[in-house]
């Protein structure tokens, strides 16, 4: 699986995502600079990493969506390539209309960095195929604008992939760290090949960091990719 990590000038989780893809999963991984473009079949997975793409003083992701690289990302998404937007990447995907909705300032107006629990709502996506429905993962969040908002008519139930929950999987108000609508922590597009999520799976893929729950998302992707390839080969 050939992977790209997009680098916006203010990305700051780009090297983290790169490290995990390359050194933890041994994937063929490349950086793509925001001003560059790439052919739609060049990469099988494109990661939009966390950070503050262009400072995000106006609105998170508002300026990034006009970067030349986003045209390539859009085309790749149209061809069914995997696109994973983490944190700021999620914000950029909504600003780019690759995902519905928008991300607003956290309800308590404060940046929040801590571990949360999220529940797998939909495991019929490439990102979650190795997970059980209802399975609870522990994952770090670190954002100031993570309150997901979407109007009811824009939302299709099965696009919700992860919801914030408590340790036991109960979706409660207390376990909602930012005031997201329906505790939404992660969303896909209708086709299921574009995922945006606020928690950081790349921050929990190594034993030494005390948590490896994030691996399951990348492992799902790799498995799905291999299966799809086998299927296509037959």
């Amino acid at each position: 699986m050939r992977c790209a990590v997009v680098v916006f000038p203010g990305s700051n989780c780009d090297r983290d995502a790169f490290h995990v893809l390359k050194n933890v999963f041994g994937l063929d991984c490349h950086y793509v600079f925001h001003g560059d473009t790439f052919p739609p079949n060049e990469f099988d997975l494109i990661v939009l990493p966390g950070g503050f793409s262009f400072g995000d003083y106006l609105r998170a992701g508002a300026i990034a969506r006009f970067s030349p690289v986003m045209e390539s990302v859009r085309e790749a998404a149209n061809r069914g390539k995997f696109v994973l937007g983490i944190c700021n990447g999620f914000q950029i995907l909504t600003e780019s209309k690759l995902l519905p909705g928008a991300l607003l300032r956290n309800k308590n107006l404060k940046f929040v960095c801590k571990d949360v629990h999220i529940k797998v709502v939909n495991n019929a996506t490439p990102f979650t195929c190795l997970l059980e429905r209802g399975q609870v993962l522990r994952m770090p969040i670190a954002h100031g604008e993570g309150r997901y908002f979407v109007s009811k008519d824009e939302l299709k139930e099965d696009q919700i992939v992860f919801q914030y929950c408590d340790e036991r999987g109960n979706v409660t108000e207390d376990s909602n760290p930012n005031g997201s609508f329906l505790n939404i922590a992660g969303m896909t597009n209708e086709r299921g090949n574009v995922l945006g999520l606020m928690p950081h799976p790349e921050r929990c893929c190594e034993e030494i960091l005390g948590n490896t729950d994030g691996r399951k998302i990348f492992e799902s992707l790799i498995t799905y990719f291999v299966r799809r390839q086998e299927h296509e080969a037959n």
Partner: protein, 725 residues
Amino acid sequence: MRRIEDYGLSQKEYQHILETLAREPNDVEIAMISVMWSEHCSYKHSKSSLRRLPTKGPRVIQGPGENAGVVDIGDGLAVVFKMESHNHPSAVEPFHGAATGVGGIVRDVLAMGARPIALLDSLRFGDLSEPRVKYLFSGVVSGISFYGNCIGVPTIAGEIYFHPCYTQNPLVNVMCVGLAEQRHLKFSKAVKSGASLLLVGSLTGRDGIGGASFASETLSEESESKRPCVQIADPFMEKLLIEACVEAANLDTVLTIQDLGAAGLTSACSEIAAKVNKGVRIDLSRVSVREKGMSPVEILLSESQERMLLVVERGEEERVESIFKKWGLRAARIGEVTDDGFFTALYDGKIVAQIPAALLTQAPLVELDPTPVLLSPSCVELPMPRNLEEVFLELLASPNICSKRYVFEQYDHMVGIDTVVRPGHDAAVLRIKGTSKALAMTADCNPFYCSVDPYVGAQIAVCEAARNLIVVGAEPLALTDCLNFGDPDKPQVAYQFEMTINGMRDAATALNIPVVSGNVSFYNETEASRVHPTPIVGMVGLIEDASRICSASFKNPGDVIVLLGPMSDDQRLCEYTRLIHKIEHVLPPKIDLELEKRVQRCCLNAIKDGLLNSAHDLSEGGLAVGLAECCIFGGIGAVCELWNDSRADFLLFGEGQSRILVSLVEENLERLIQLAKNENVPIAVLGRVTGDRLVVKLNGRKLIDQPVRKIKEVYESSLQRLVNQ
């Protein structure tokens, strides 16, 4: 003669200028000199005292004298660090004051050619019940959060204390730690004449002009009006600077890098020149400005943030410029290094200033005039509280003891995915990718001890910082400091300062921990109040084997709980006497540097041998709070039985030094006892990790019996409650 005082220069200083120049300085020159000779830039009150600190060690690559200290950690790598204050700006505009403070110290680390990998913040505020204090506290914390999070450098440790002496004088000290390949480090000695000066980053505006002088004064009504235009933080610009500078530092043709801080271009250029006995010639018309009509003086003294100066081999400018361009930054060649030793500034083709660079960087030193202050008594008879369990809960909720989670959850402390031990423990730990190593870091200073006995207080600050590193399994490498005091011309302040330096010197020497960088902040006083002497010690330690990192949390039911160091009922100053008995003018705990050393060695060896499951330094709140923290972090209970005839309150809450609380499987106990014996360290078995309550008995009688869930709730919710009240 009025003009001299207007510039804040003394008659004597002016004479010195006349003699050196053999003429009158012009208006531009005198403005430059006056800012450079402010306390903030010149260290004129502190320089000679600072020379007493030990600065050498086998691992030290660079001690004080450059933008940041540098220490060898093997594998061709070096760790770079320094701490700095931004107290005065934060008192005026807490959000941007603190944010720009982060920016400033990051650029010092960047200037050495290192990538910033961690931030630590040491904060001091007045009583949180006051609205103004709440405003300052919230502003400072969100400013640090705003800046550090955006630039992607994790804020992984720090400390916060509250005391009325900081009401009008909040302290905001920030430490930055960087990592570099040794071959890419930048030092000023590489500067040669003919090399080009490239100014990069933000445009130069009128912001912050006179900031250095502002920080070198007591805050008053008058200084309110003299206030320089407040600096606004632009962390996105800083992020671009970080990426571009780290990339540029890989080039050998980039000879050195210098940040622009206080006194802007004047300071940066004269430092570059004076350190290698050279000169600089710069053309101010080439400086890109933000506002129309900026005068030469304004350009020379502007303290606009997010700018750096690169000294680049002649003819190699384009290569460097292209790196900056890639990151959307401008780089302007504003001049060159010369042989003549002069700082020459041109504007519109005319020379507007020409003075020896060394005159700017070497202000005449001011002798301190210390007057010894009588030390307070050591003992008082305090009544025994009726209910020690209530005292215990009150201590856990004290803002000086309780969890600072409310604060550090606003900081991204995981970006970079190296954070192995997160904030909240004794020291934070970062692994170093691609090696088996890890770095531990901490910042410490108990200002209450320092206020009563600055000598002992400073010793304890150094020892406690070292102990915090030891308990995670790290070998202390070196320290940086930020010395926050009142007006040094006042004899009591001068005395506090001198005693502090001596205390730091003695402890650092005893523990073999060199001082590699630091910062001094004087004039933290108003007419009404003055800060306690607050010498913050920042320390970095090395863990050779990252699989042997220890933490404070109790882990396994059945583990034995052991105290390394003396079972003490030290009846001196502690949070308990302050909070419960309202007594803060008694002597601080004693410290025995030899014992301290042995306790630390014993603990570190035990961790390295893999004997321990947890280790925790005992500090504020004493044994009881220490035990509670181990339980809270681990989410598990403990039962301890003490047998002792001393006073129960001081046994539980006294802050006797050189003590570490550890837990281990019973099989390892014999070996630990042997280690302690070898080092002549007192050791006592206190009890076991078990259940979900913390139970402490003295001579068979229960003093504390509380569910861990409850003490956790008290410990973790207290700060937020105080802020929201």
